[in-house]
Each structure stands twice: as structure tokens, then as C-alpha cells.
Amino acid sequence: MSNSNAGETVVVVRDVCKEFYRDQLTIPVLSGINLQLSEGDYLALMGPSGSGKTTLLNLIAGLDRPTSGDVIVCGQNLGQSSEGELARWRSRHVGFIFQMYNLIPVLTAYENVELPLTLTSMSRRQRDDHVKAALEVVALQDRMDHYPRQLSGGQEQRVAIARAIVTDPTLLVADEPTGDLDAKSAAEILELMHRLNTEFRKTIVMVTHDPNAADRARRILHLEKGLLVSEIANNRAKVAVP
């Protein structure tokens, strides 16, 4: 696998297979996947439905463990970690961006962003500084007291991005981050993610069906039936909103 960036290795996926079991049936989802990402990489995972994109994303994010092979992220072999260890690890190293934003509806934008910090030993003032900084990055500091229902879809996703970056994680994982947005909002989100990658050197792994979204990534991997079928080093990665 190519390594398009000279930074420190963040993700190593080695000979990974993943199988699910349903009603005594074994369903192979990923077979022999090898992948390496360095700090500052921006990877788009593409492929038809059922090709294993989200499963691979979940393995890299420490939400699931491989049936065989190794997934080593930020120096931690995730396959050998207990669930409690994985939870602690995720809180420090991974930020999540979901297709449906998944904000907590009873919390304000500020409180949603603050949520991951409540797992740390930070003081109230430190948390406040971090939350405001994160909201400033997504340009929503003026909406911090608004509840999710009072925000547009694009704004909700920006709050979700602020929640993802507030702990300053090494890795951002995004599952169809623009899948529920209109074209304008999607472009804003992609631009924001591009900034996080270029200005803040965040390593990003994004699952998408959208070729325009994938075009922002430095690397594009295509999966089909659980196999990695092609990789494109995207030297045309756009740096500005079209």
C-alpha cells in the first residue's frame, strides 16, 4: 500500500478478515485487507452497498474487532483490547462524524460538543476553552446555546464535527458525512474536513458514495465484496470549494 504522506504511521491494517455470524451462517465481510495510513492522510472508502466499507471503518475506529489479522491504530492493537480499553482509547484518539449527525437532542450545541470532554479530567474552565475553540473552528460559536432542533442540517453536522475534534484526536472517522445534506451544506462540510486535514493535520477516514466527496481525499480505496480492488492516489485533491 502506498503511503502518500511522510508523517508518522497512524493506522496499520494487516491481513484483516471479518466475518459475521447470523443464524449459524458465517458471512464473510472483509477478506485479507491491508492498509497503512500516516498522520495527515485523508482516505476515502468507496464501493457498493455491502462491500465492507463501514465494517472497515468500524474496525479502524475501534468499534469492532477483526476476526483475524491486526488493526493497529495510534500504536494500539485494537484486536487485543478489551471493550473497556477500547472505549478509553476511542475517547482519546478518535473523533466520529455520522451521516445523521447523531447529536443528543436534549443538549445544546455547547453541551453536545462538551460531551466527550466530560470523560477527561479537565477542569470546567479548560473544557469551556476547548468547546469554544472547537465551535470557532466550525464557525458556530454564535449558536452554542441552540438545541439541535433549532439548527439546520448543515449546522448540526458542523456541531457534530466540533464534537469530533474537541478532544483533539489523531483520527477522524466519517461515515457518509454529507449523505443527508443538500449540495451547498455538503460542500461546506467537505471544505471544513479539508481544513481539518490540511491545517490541523488530522488523519481522516471517510466512507462515501459521493465521487465529489471522495475527490477531496488524498487517497481513494475501492472495495467490492470485502476485497480491496483498487487504490487511487488522488493528486487532484481539491483545496477549495468548487
Binding site: 475517547s91 447523531n102 443528543i104 466527550p116
Partner: protein
């Protein structure tokens, strides 16, 4: 953002469901508080009676049997009996009130010898003894109704075909609320004679104070032996046993009340558990997100259990509060049946009620909490994706 704040926001998320759950817990615990308050009233009465060296003599057939007034002197003459009085329940109504307070026809000369723990100013006691239509009553009745010495109290007979026209001669103090009024047995008996009532010269029951508790068994045996061969054989018993007799009359009701209480708590835990399970089902994705960003199982468990306990405790405060208010009302209206104030109940009953509410919260929340804590993050996220 603290966990408790998040729990509170979740309770307010679906206010109607939360309110209905809180009300169902509240009303059920209010019912339990009242039912158990009724049991406590019986215990209080029984325990109070056990401390006094008094016996009660009645016809062996019970309250329906006669006990001639001449029996009182025979009881008095029994060895170790310090004092004895007739004690006949009148049960009259006052104005529109069917059961305003307890009224007993007794002997004014000796009634305060049988109950020496009651105190009354000597001049008022003297006035009571000399006035045939005089009566004395518990200070709590007088204060509640704003009555004073010299006021007249007309009581309409419900059991007897004779109405009383009483004048307050004195007001006595007693350690516990008796909610009682005492008047001359002679006044009632004379009135019944004038009405040609067949059952005259009846003492009803006899209350006697015994010099020492050690002598009580011998006195009881002596009295029952004395009347054994007469037309009106007696059954004598301690005041505590007399109180127990009343308790035994509703003994099965006590078991029933306890079982109903248990059933209420059990069924309520199912209702609350169902409510919590619904709330959790609606929040599967949300819980999955929390776990994805690093919330450990223990914290998810705490949040769900905390929410169930908070709802249950809110219902508990409401229920115990309503129950105490109801019992306080009963204490005011019918102190003879609820001889304790809400202040006397506050400690134990609030504790019991709130402990019951907390247990209810734990029982109802434990299954949804464990399911939430053990839920797969991926399955939870897939629910909406």
C-alpha cells in the same frame, strides 16, 4: 455538562410520559402510606395499652352482652383493684357529624383514678362530679372545635333512644390523643329509664386499674371466677389484650393490606420498567453514540438507572407527601382511629416510602440499564443508518 443534568434533561424529554409514570408511582405509594399508616395506628394503640396496668371486664358474649352496673362494685372490691369504672360507648352524633369524637358514659368519681396519667384542674374535676349533665373532654377536641368550659354540647343518640344535653365542666390533658368525651353514666341511665328502654342499668364494659402488673393474672382469674356462676359471666383481659382483640378482628385485613402493598409495588415496578424500556428503545442510537465516543458501560448503566430512580423518587416524594397529608387529615377528623400526628410519622414513614421508591427505581431500571450498557455500538448505530 454533568451526568445529573443529562439525566434531568432526559426525564423532561417526554414530559407527559414522565409525568404519568411519576403520578402512577406517586398515587400507589400514597395508597401504601395510608394502608401502612392504618396498621401503624393499630400498633400504636396496642403498644400504648400494654404499658398501663389496666384490665377490661366485659360480658363473655362480647359487646352485645349485658354487664350490670352492680358488677362495678364487685370488681372494685376485688383484691389488688385500685379503681374501676363503668365505660359505656354512646356513639352519638353532633349536629351533622355522625361520628364527631368518642363519647363514654362513666363514673366521674373514679374515672381519673383509672386513668391517672390524665390531668385535669381540681376545680374542674369537682364541677364535673357535681353536675349531672357535666362532661369532660380531651383538650385536643376543645382546641380543634374552639370549645371552652361552660359551652353546651348536644349529642343525638344513635344507639340509644336518648339525646344528651351536656355542659363542659372541664378539659383534661392526656399523653396521647384520646379524642374522647366522658359524661355521667347516671345521666344516660336515667334518661333511658324515662324512655322505658329495656336494657337499663348496663355498665357496658368495666375498666379497672390494678395496683401492680404482677397481680393482673390473679385479678382477672378472681373476677371471672366471681361472675362465672352468675347470669352474666365475664371475660376479663388486659387493656393490651383488649386492643389486640380489635386488631385480631381485622387481622386478616392486615395480611391483606401487606399483600396488597407488595402487589402494588410489584405491578408498579413492571409499569415503570416498561416505561423505562420504551425510553431506552427510543434512544438506542443515542446510547450507541455515547458509547462510540468513549462512554464506558458503567456510566451508561449509571445514567439509565439514575433516570429510573429519579422518576421513581419524584413519585415517591409525591406519594409519601400525599399519604402523610391524608393521614394528617384522618388524625384531625378521626384521631381515635389515627392517634398520631404526621410529625410523629415523618421519620419512619418518609424513610419507608422513599426506600420503597428507590427500590422500585432500581428494580424497574436494572434491566433496561444492563441492556443499554451491554448494547453493541454497531447495532445501535445501524438502527438509524
Amino acid at each position: 455538562m454533568k451526568t445529573l443534568k443529562y439525566i434531568w434533561r432526559n426525564i423532561r424529554r417526554n414530559p407527559i410520559r414522565s409525568l404519568l409514570t411519576i403520578l402512577s408511582v406517586g398515587f400507589s405509594l400514597a395508597l401504601m402510606t395510608v394502608l401502612y399508616g392504618f396498621l401503624a395506628a393499630q400498633e400504636t394503640w396496642k403498644n400504648g395499652a400494654a404499658q398501663a396496668n389496666r384490665i377490661v371486664v366485659m360480658n363473655i358474649q362480647g359487646f352485645s352482652g349485658r354487664l350490670p352496673i352492680s358488677s362495678v362494685d364487685q370488681v372494685r372490691s376485688t383484691k389488688f383493684v385500685a379503681a374501676a369504672v363503668p365505660f359505656a360507648w354512646f356513639g352519638g352524633s353532633y349536629q351533622d357529624e355522625q361520628m364527631p369524637f368518642a363519647q363514654f358514659a362513666t363514673d366521674p368519681e373514679h374515672v381519673f383514678d383509672v386513668w391517672p396519667e390524665y390531668s385535669i384542674p381540681p376545680e374542674q374535676l369537682e364541677a364535673f362530679k357535681t353536675s349531672r349533665q357535666g362532661c369532660v373532654l380531651d383538650r385536643r377536641i376543645a382546641e380543634r372545635r374552639g370549645w371552652k368550659v361552660g359551652d353546651r354540647i348536644p349529642l343525638k343518640g344513635a344507639i340509644y333512644p336518648f339525646d344528651l344535653d351536656l355542659e363542659i365542666s372541664g378539659i383534661f390533658d392526656s399523653p396521647k390523643n384520646t379524642d374522647s368525651l366522658y359524661f355521667h353514666w347516671d345521666y344516660l341511665n336515667e334518661g333511658l329509664k324515662q324512655q322505658s328502654y329495656p336494657n337499663i342499668d348496663n355498665a357496658g364494659t368495666i375498666f379497672a386499674r390494678i395496683a401492680s402488673s404482677d397481680s393482673i393474672p390473679a385479678v382477672i382469674k378472681s373476677i371471672d371466677d366471681k361472675f362465672g356462676s352468675s347470669d352474666t359471666p365475664t371475660r376479663s383481659q388486659t387493656e393490651a389484650a383488649f386492643a389486640q382483640m380489635f386488631a385480631d378482628m381485622v387481622g386478616n385485613v392486615q395480611v391483606l393490606i401487606r399483600n396488597i402493598g407488595m402487589a402494588v409495588v410489584f405491578s408498579l415496578s413492571l409499569v415503570t420498567a416498561n416505561s423505562m424500556a420504551m425510553a431506552m428503545r427510543e434512544r438506542v442510537t443515542e446510547i450507541a453514540v455515547l458509547k462510540a465516543i468513549g462512554f464506558p458501560r458503567s456510566r451508561v448503566l449509571f445514567m439509565v438507572l439514575g433516570e429510573a430512580c429519579a422518576i421513581s423518587m419524584l413519585g415517591g416524594f409525591l406519594g409519601v407527601g400525599m399519604g402523610c397529608l391524608f393521614l394528617q387529615g384522618m388524625n384531625r377528623l378521626m384521631p381515635q382511629f389515627f392517634p398520631f400526628t404526621v410529625m410523629e410519622m415523618l421519620g419512619p414513614w418518609i424513610s419507608y416510602g422513599l426506600i420503597a421508591a428507590a427500590v422500585l427505581g432500581l428494580i424497574s431500571g436494572i434491566v433496561p440499564a444492563i441492556r443499554a450498557a451491554q448494547m453493541s455500538v454497531i447495532d445501535g448505530l445501524r438502527r438509524i443508518a
